[in-house]
Symmetry: C2
Subunit: 408 residues, 2 copies
């Protein structure tokens, strides 16, 4: 085939600018800002406290290189890793996740209920696809994790926000929301994104009780559960009641680029999940799964995590001290006990979007809290202390103080 052949048979095509006949569901699709902020953050001289990126200096590149090299040392293993796989994912990795659930989380589950998925985001898309008809009720943390809300939004749920407090969701609001018989309840009990808040022990029991006596399935997002600075802070709701889909991920602790998440589903969901995973992606990346499995064979996850937790604890303290030293006392924030985020509040009645804009002019990107909210949240900002290096954190805190100065 030559270029000339192709030219010869070229037709002048009508270009349907802005006339694409997209589906109605795309009208409901929320904007998430996440990827846009990642793009802005990459601009020259910009410091970012905005995204949910882990600290790439903590990636164990040598360990993953070894795991990958080890995979290729056995040609049969390598061939299988590069071939099509099975819907649920590779058994050794699912067994490791099941074992950790039993040991660390008191969740008595076998690998039969575990599906490896190309990142948590795909879990949320799958769950939306499987459950939500347009107009169905869906309860979420308010504020809630925007990426997940965006995935669900495509399927047109009616979101019901339940206020997320420093000790977990407001139980009265949750009870009232569940009385409306929503299909799903999405929540992050540990070191929540965006707020950094976690459920108290009492709240875990209370939520489990409410969920177990409802028809609603809880989606318990455990993306940050392994990042408690002094270890796990409490058992998941899934350890106390069965009608929960528990999602997890290696993104925040090992590597987000490898897109390795999983979902642990109730028995009654296994068959439908098989069909939906097959239809949406056939199965998760078998190469990534195998490299991850080798990595976990060769390394002790607990000692690995000790270092990650220690480092995030140190960085959170660094930022907290800087906020304390540089920001006026009318600003409020929490002291997280895990995860990557601090939740900043400007005085009641002020619009934190103005702080976002002012900071941007000083080459600092922060994430406005408003888009995470179903209701309110105008005076909130999410700060990520994980992504930036120490010097950037110091310089960024100065820029934040200077951006705030005289704003309101």
């Amino acid at each position: 085939m030559s270029a000339a052949d192709s030219k010869e048979i070229f037709f002048n095509t009508i270009v349907y600018a802005n006339s694409m006949r997209f589906s109605k569901r795309t009208d409901d699709l929320m904007d998430s800002f996440i990827m846009k902020l990642i793009a802005v953050s990459k601009e020259e001289g910009m410091i970012s406290f905005a995204t949910g990126l882990p600290d790439k200096r903590l990636f164990d590149t040598e360990g993953i290189a070894r795991a990958s090299a080890d995979l290729f040392e056995d040609i049969d293993r390598a061939r299988d890793a590069l071939q099509y796989g099975t819907i649920k994912g590779i058994t050794p990795l699912r067994k490791k996740i099941a074992a950790r659930c039993r040991k660390e989380m008191c969740v008595n589950v076998s690998e039969e209920n575990i599906f490896m998925i190309n990142g948590s985001q795909e879990c949320f898309d799958l769950i939306g696809k499987m459950f939500i008809d347009r107009g169905d009720g869906m309860v979420t943390d308010d504020p809630g994790y925007l990426g997940a809300l965006q995935a669900y939004s495509l399927y047109g749920p009616e979101f019901i926000g339940v206020k997320m407090n420093e000790t977990g969701p407001d139980a009265g609001e949750l009870r009232k929301a569940l009385q409306r018989d929503p299909k799903l309840y999405y929540s992050i009990p540990n070191h929540q994104n965006p707020s950094g808040f976690s459920y108290s022990s009492d709240k875990r029991k209370e939520v489990a009780e409410l969920i177990s006596s409802s028809n609603t399935i809880m989606i318990e997002d455990d993306a940050y559960g392994e990042l408690g600075y002094d270890g796990r802070i409490g058992p998941p709701v899934r350890s106390m009641t069965d009608n929960v889909i528990l999602t997890g991920s290696y993104s925040k602790i090992i590597s987000p680029g490898m897109r390795m998440g999983w979902m642990i589903v109730p028995d009654e969901m296994i068959e439908m999940t098989m069909k939906c995973v097959e239809s949406s992606s056939l199965h998760a990346n078998t190469f990534s799964q195998n490299v991850m499995d080798r990595y976990l064979e060769q390394n002790d996850l607990d000692s690995y995590l000790r270092n990650i937790r220690k480092e995030y604890k140190r960085k959170s303290k660094l930022m907290l001290d800087l906020l304390h030293d540089n920001l006026p006392s009318e600003l409020e924030w929490n002291t997280p006990n895990g995860g990557m985020f601090i939740w900043l509040r400007t005085p009641e009645g002020t619009d934190a979007m103005r702080l976002y804009e002012s900071a941007l002019k000083k080459k600092l990107v922060v994430m406005p809290g408003r888009p995470f909210h179903i209701n309110g949240g105008v005076n909130t900002i999410r700060l990520n202390f994980a992504t930036a290096g120490d010097e950037e954190i110091k310089e960024g805190a100065k820029r934040l103080a200077s951006a705030y100065n005289g704003l309101f």
Copy 2:
């Protein structure tokens, strides 16, 4: 947290067996049999001509090991490969795909229109999500590729089958179908799955003309385009008209386990595709993308492909000769000029599902053709000669002949 803590707060949960409130769209979800047949094929002593798996002996495990090792030699590159990426995927890889499109396919496209996706299957899910409202018309090859039809089926299109002949789709049927103003037309012009048929040169022009004068967007699936035994057999429809989404994949030529597909979309679709990819998966696996990019840097794709093409040509001839020597003359089949499949037809009026069942008893898995069809196809069987080794092909052909003997 101890196991006792957890026990203490355990609630007896109502188990909602068979009472999951799945979305209505799941009622439309087709069964694809693909993954089930892969599972059956793995049983002890079984020979499989059933699936779409490439020959894993042809995977360049050493080359991919080198590419992976090379990636980790530069710590900054390694960290970026393990970190979150951007929605469209990494630029160097998208540039390579764009360059190949221009050089080999006469498709004048830049990387701006290319999205890296976790395998073609996710492309089909994304396209269904973006375009199909329940009841929308969607034209497809008949027979058509079942995996894609399954992905679309979840969004409830009304499928309109256009008969796929040895030289491409029946033009009269396609013209008639397009008069119904369907939103989408899905087709595989090169070495089609399941039939192995390809569009003739005239048919490419004819289809491009029909599409360019319609409101319908063609999804041109080029999964097998690089597997023409003597090189590419013709330019894609996308080289002749713009309202085409062209999908491609490294699955059939390099590695399906790395889940590396892509879609090339018209300008007017870029923004919506950004939002939908973000919402469904954030972005494709950056680790796989980087390993693939290193691989393509270090190896000449054309000389690599020469070997793959030669080997599949040899295996197709091996199977064709065996069919000729072993099967009675009332059976018909085609001689493919690329790809992985032979399309077998039992006599008119017979049910090839009986041959599938009879073969299974002899420990040979073949793929019945009926599920690929919108209409008819009862007397068809798809045979894959790529997956099995030579000895298995020889033994499998004997089992097929013996399974057929006296059946009708």
